[in-house]
Structure formats: structure tokens, C-alpha cells
């Protein structure tokens, strides 16, 4: 959560981010809401009326969901269910795997080989750039166009500022270590 909130933005977008971080708090809250009985109608044990006094996390969740509803009504986003296609760009970005992953160093990703030149495999794993890996010695023939492979990412874009340059020089490639083919479990 801290990593999400740390997404540094241009100063004028600061207010927008503050609202996003509030929403992220609440999103995480919803994921953990197992014990809140008064909200769910299917629960037969507790009475329909909210007589049972909520405490601790349940009370906080009640309070924040009320606040979230007020905010939604104020912002005019009521009626937008999570399954609908009406997500804003900010929501799509926040929920995207790229942002949820955090730093790319040492993260394992699945990529697909889209081009092969002799022993170089060009693998696309969903980032801006593809990565180029050497064909491994073990099971070399199994790496063909369209094969899915596991990668350990190092960097999403290889850039560096050289002496005397105004901007970074970019290699237009990502950097990753090939771990092996994607092992599909036999059913």
C-alpha cells in the first residue's frame, strides 16, 4: 500500500493522487471484509437489524464505506460497478499488473517469444519493451515462436545518461533473465 501511495506525480496532479490513495485504502479494506455480518443479506445467524455492536475493524469499515458512498455520490460515480467498462484511466492504471507489481527488480513474469534470430529470443512480457535472451543450452529446441517462458525481470528499459549528453540514451529493450519454459501442470 505504501508503494502505491508513493507513486510520485507532477505537483498539479497531487490532489488527484490523494483521492486515489484514499480509494486504495478502501479497496484493501473490501478485500479483507470477511467478518462484517450486517452488510450481507445472506447471513441467517444475525438478525436483520444491526443490533449487534460492531467493534474494531468492522466499525472502521462501516465508517469508511459510508464515507466512500458519500464521496461517490458527490463525484457522480454511483452505479459504476467494478465489472462495468466505465473505469477511469486512474483506476485502470492502479489495478494494472504493472503498477501492482511495484519495482521490476527480481520479479518473475511470463513472456511470449515473438521473434527468433539464430540463438537470440525476443520475448514480450507485457511491458513497454521486449527483452532479448540467449537460447539456453538445456531444451534449446523447445523455444520456438509462440512459446511461453518464465523470466526474472531486471529492468523495464535499459537507459543511461552518458557524459556530456542532455538526455538519457535508451537501448529500447528491457532486461530479464530467462528461467525456463512455462511448466503447465498435467491435468
Amino acid at each position: 500500500m505504501a508503494a502505491l501511495c508513493k507513486a510520485v506525480c507532477v505537483a498539479k496532479r497531487g490532489a488527484k493522487l490523494a483521492r486515489i490513495s484514499c480509494r486504495s485504502l478502501l479497496a484493501f479494506g473490501k478485500l479483507y471484509s470477511t467478518g462484517d455480518t450486517s452488510e450481507f443479506p445472506g447471513n441467517k445467524e444475525d438478525t436483520p437489524t444491526a443490533e449487534k455492536k460492531l467493534s474494531g475493524f468492522a466499525a472502521a469499515f462501516e465508517l469508511h464505506s459510508g464515507l466512500q458512498q458519500k464521496h461517490d455520490i458527490a463525484a457522480g460515480t454511483v452505479g459504476k460497478s467494478p465489472g462495468s467498462n466505465e473505469h477511469s484511466f486512474a483506476t485502470l492504471l492502479k489495478q494494472s499488473p504493472l503498477v501492482q507489481m511495484g519495482t521490476s527488480k527480481d520479479k518473475v513474469a511470463v513472456g511470449k517469444i515473438f521473434h527468433i534470430v539464430n540463438n537470440d529470443l525476443y520475448v514480450d512480457f507485457g511491458g513497454k519493451f521486449h527483452c532479448v535472451c540467449k537460447r539456453p543450452a538445456v531444451d534449446g529446441e523447445k523455444y520456438q515462436r509462440g512459446s511461453r517462458v518464465r523470466l526474472r525481470l531486471v529492468d523495464l528499459e535499459l537507459t543511461s545518461r552518458f557524459l556530456g549528453a542532455k538526455t538519457d540514451t535508451t537501448l529500447l529493450e528491457a532486461d530479464a533473465v530467462l528461467l525456463g519454459l512455462l511448466e503447465t501442470k498435467p491435468k
Binding site: 507532477v10 484511466f89 513497454k128 528499459e157 545518461r161 538526455t167 535508451t170
Partner: protein
Amino acid sequence: MAVGLLKKALPRLGLAVPAWPGVRCMTSRLYGTAAAQTQIHQPDNSVGSDKILTEPLKHPDFFRLSELFSLKDLFDARVHLGHKIGCRHRLMEQYLFGCRLEQDILDLDQTMEHLQQALNFTAHVAYRRGIILFVSRNRQFTHLIESMARDCGEYAHCRYWQGGLLTNANVQYGKGVRLPDLIVFLSTLNNVFQQHVAVRDAAKMNIPTVGIVDSNCNPSLLTYPVPGNDDSGPAVELYCKLFRMTINRAKDKRRQMEILYGLKSQND
């Protein structure tokens, strides 16, 4: 013709063609003053042909291009991903949503608006039988762009650009050469990360340009810049698909309108 109509409405505008990207309206993009382009197609003075040309200008989205793409499509095609913060061009800061772990993220809300305007302009140019030239120096997508241009009946130049192609056309190709009426850049940089020569030359020759600008590009000389990713495969495939559909739609619409107004003028 439309030029006569527009000159009647805005008498002083016919001569001044401002090159600032801020001015977006169709009326200021007049081809009448571009010396290198010759109007081969002589319009007849019947009411029908006048209607064909003026009717599309009355609607903000005559070709209904907003239904061709959505924010989700752009997002899934990775259009919002930019370069690292060190590669950022100062003039692209207005189009950025922010920077996440040193990678710039482009604002897709702004991209949607710019893309809509760019596609609308492309459609109008294709409707009026303009020549559209696709330019990109990204070798990964050369084949894709060339086949897309062939599919929509327009032109592509994804190879080495000779210095005087536009500015010295009369000498290199003979007199009376018709230059493109619109140049679309699917990547505005050449292979050494300098701006493609055609951007500057098109501005010199009064040719409007549409360009996909990434976070390391300079958007200032383009008429219709579209902030977006120009390096990922899915993104460029999406742009190619959109341009091809736009141009085909515009040409089909033109054929329909000609039949419609051609029949009307016969019946009158």
C-alpha cells in the same frame, strides 16, 4: 468549392495559414496557398458537388470515429507507457499523467481527445481525396505500416528519407508533382533519436501532420500531436488498425455521398 465558401465566410483567413498546433479548426487548414500542391481535380459548379464537400463540415464527428476506439482499448494496447524519466522531453510534460518508479505514464484522457481530433482530420482529408503519407523510421514496424498503407490505398515511406524529398520535389521528381496533403508519423524520431526530417519539411511546405509522440519526442511542429507509446507492438498495431479503418470509412462515405447527391442532381 469549399475554399470559395470559406473565403466568403472568413475573408482574411485565406492567406494566413497559422502553423501553431493550438489552432485546430478545419477552416484554417486551407490548401489554397500551398504553392507546391496543384489542384488537379477541377470541381464542377453544380449544387450537388458543393453539398458533398460542405455537408461533412457541419458535424463534429461526421464519420462517427469515436466508436472505433475506447479508453480500455488504448490501455490494453499499452499506449500509456512512456520512456524513463531521464529521456523525457520538456514539452511532453503537459501530456504526462505522472511518473511511476522512473517510468513516465501518459495521460490517456488527453490522448483520447487528441486521437479523436487526429482521426477526424485524417478522415476529412481522405474524404476529400487527399494523399496521405505514412512515415516511420522504426524498423520493427516497417512491414506492418507498408501493408496497412497498401490496404487503405494510401502511401507509406518507411525507408531512408532523402533530404530534398518535399522541399526539392520539383527538381527531384519533375515539375507539377503533387505532394502529400497529410503526413502521418507513427514515430517522429529517426534511428539516432533526432526528430525525423519530414516533420520540419512538412511544416516548411504547409503540409499538415499527424504524429504519435512518445515521452521523448518534440510535439511542437506537429499539427495534430497524439501523445502515445510508439515502441510497443500492440500500440502500433492499434494505430495502424485505427488509421486504416478511418480512411476506409471516409472513402466509403465519399462514394455514398456521390451516389446520393449525384442521383439528387439528376432528379432535379
